[in-house]
Amino acid sequence: MLDAIPDARTVERLKRKRERYLAAGQWTLIWRRFRRHTLGLIGGAIAVLIYLIAIFAEFLAPTTLEDYTAAYRFAPPMPLEIVHVGADGAWQWGLHTHPLVPTVDKVKMRRTLAPDPRKLVPVGFFVPGEPYRFWGLFPTDIHLIGTSDPKVPLMLLGSDRLGRDLLSRIIYGARISLSIGLFGVAISFALGVVIGGISGYLGGVTDNLIQRLVEILDSIPSVPLWIGLAAIIPLTLAPELVYFLITLILALIGWTGLARVVRGRFLALKSEEFISAARLDGASPLRIIMHHMVPSFMSHIIAALSLAIPGMILAETALSYLGIGLRPPVVSWGVLLQDAQNIRTIVEAPWLLLPGVAVVITVLALNFFGDGLRDAADPYSS
């Protein structure tokens, strides 16, 4: 009686690949589109790597945060060699480094440290070193890489004015810098989605008022605003509390961008026919928002978030660099860069700028990832 039921032959002939496409939900389709975006993939991989480094910081760092070696102040990066040609011409294999000894640099007329080519210190993996507690939970002293001689530290990126290993500090600093990015963005997300959602869904006068508020907040220059808010924080406050307050400040000013994105999506979605259809089905506004609108803009939000994290990281770095953000003993990349404020220091120990390189790499990686995600975010546009 009813015609046009697709016949069995046609159905069986569908290749498995197409079957997967037909049953693919939006996240599968988004992943497929994202996969084609090479830069986005690379950025994402690097970002994941950096976050893993932050998670396993204590194990990956050659030594702990505050461990110092007095004899190795302002030490340049120590070389890591695989083969050593001895004075007798013999080749020695094995990963090793040379201890640094004081020398006089006749060109610059200064005393510096330089590697002693005559002494070899083997470098190994999974070596015992300075004891630490992994995430403050269980104690151990195994580090990924280190020297076999406890008197010779392994300073692959050099050391600062107190003789603390820069690489280790950069790795520990990653944990703080990246987590501020995440927590700050999480708070921004909550604020942005709620306020932007209300603005977009209700429209009319509410929308107008909220948007004007957003514009006012946006028009305040951000750096002076941060400085002003950060300056209110008392100097004697506990470092962890300072960390929390800085995160809050950044988030309270940063939610506006996200709110705009959410509002834009809500407005666009409101006029979609399938929303009308859901309303005619009898769906309550809450159900429409949660079941129909949120899945539609989720991918855009994630793209916006991944582009907001670098902003937070840069903001925290700037504040800490200026001395009004985080303070030691809470160490972030910005705090590390404080040591690089002095021209003389930079000239004599240029490796102290390396935390800045870490910031650049992280921000670039997250930006590429966010770009790729944004391009892939709407798999249903042709």
Partner: protein
């Protein structure tokens, strides 16, 4: 060129799209002659490839699509012919032809017109590009063209923006833009589908009058058989990337020989059939990635014979002068009998 009566001769045109899901053969071996000075309607449903074919002629196919095979021979001037498929789509040769010799009208007048330029700017643009006229002369010609397409108060309309005009008026502006350089060929891709029926009738009349007056060759793409009956001199029926039947309009409607054409004509509601069940074509158009081997229509055809229809695409047979059918069984009957319902 095989015949001097043809403006364009397409042989074995194949335009393929490399998508994530696979290779979509949108146009897969089309042979078509576009005769001079007549209206050729290309009819087909979604997935037939009619739009892609028209855009292939204009060489405006974008990545991931490209013409992979075939020739599009165009009789440019007396005695000379160019294969459009070989030209660089953004090179100056093709650009001169496109706009100078060919004009195109699209389905959606609102998106075909730039919202930030005035009507005058857009209509004179082609003139300024292809003829060396100064601005004043171009505007005069543009105003004359707007009058010709039936727009009231052409001089004032030149200064207006597209959003100030109604749908029918915008489509007239698009027609004016396409015809301003007195092209030899006008390609119209579903130009009336987005318009109201009364406006559609006006625009069809306009196209017919202009075609007669300017001696235009018109390639008119549509899925509406009624429109075809109104305006076509000749008709080509396409299905899944191939031409299955070609005939002049009267023959096609009164003596269709391809089962698809027959089925299509039967499924159009017409006065007098009230309440009865409409005969339909069973099944759906196969997904372009699931093209059946051989004749693409066999999965839905009441006369398909396994072993015959699923091997190769049927050879185009001329059943009478000017009437070409691609069906393996066309020689078996004088007319293909009505299918039992």
């Amino acid at each position: 060129m095989q015949s001097p009566d043809n403006l364009i001769e397409i042989r074995n045109l194949k335009t393929h799209f490399k998508t994530d899901e696979g290779l979509v053969k949108a146009v897969d071996g089309v042979d078509l002659d576009v005769p001079r000075g007549r209206v050729l309607c290309v009819v087909g449903e979604s997935g037939s490839g009619k739009s892609i074919m028209a855009r292939s002629i204009m060489r405006i196919i974008q990545r991931p699509g490209r013409i992979v095979e075939g020739t599009i021979r165009y009789a440019a001037a007396a005695g000379s012919e160019i294969d459009l498929a070989q030209l660089d789509p953004i090179g100056s040769a093709m650009r001169n032809i496109r706009g100078g010799d060919f004009g195109m009208v699209f389905q959606e007048p609102m998106t075909a017109l730039s919202p930030v330029h005035t009507v005058g700017d857009q209509v004179t643009e082609a003139l300024l590009l292809h003829r060396s006229l100064d601005k004043k002369a171009a505007e005069a010609e543009a105003a004359a063209m707007l009058a010709k397409v039936g727009l009231p108060d052409p001089k004032a309309t030149l200064k207006r923006f597209p959003f100030e005009l109604s749908g029918g008026m915008r489509q007239r502006v698009c027609i004016a833009m396409a015809l301003i350089c007195r092209p030899k060929l006008l390609i119209a891709d579903e130009p009336t589908t987005a318009l109201d029926v009364t406006t559609q009738a006006q625009v069809l009349d306009l196209l017919r009058d202009l075609q007669a007056e300017m001696g235009l060759t018109v390639l008119f793409i549509t899925h509406n058989l009624g429109v075809v009956a109104e305006i076509a001199d000749q008709v080509a029926v396409m299905y899944l990337g191939r031409v299955v039947e070609f005939a002049d309009a009267d023959t096609l409607f009164h003596d269709p020989r391809h089962p698809y054409t027959q089925a299509l004509l039967r499924s159009v509601p017409r006065p007098g059939l009230r309440g009865a069940r409409l005969p339909t074509v069973r099944g759906n158009v196969p997904h372009p990635l699931d093209r059946p081997a051989g004749c693409p229509f066999q999965t839905r055809c009441d006369f398909a014979v396994s072993g015959l229809c699923d091997r190769e695409f049927p050879v185009a047979t001329q059943v009478s002068p000017g009437h070409i059918v691609s069906c393996a069984r066309v020689g078996e009957f004088d007319r293909i009998p009505e299918a039992a319902q």
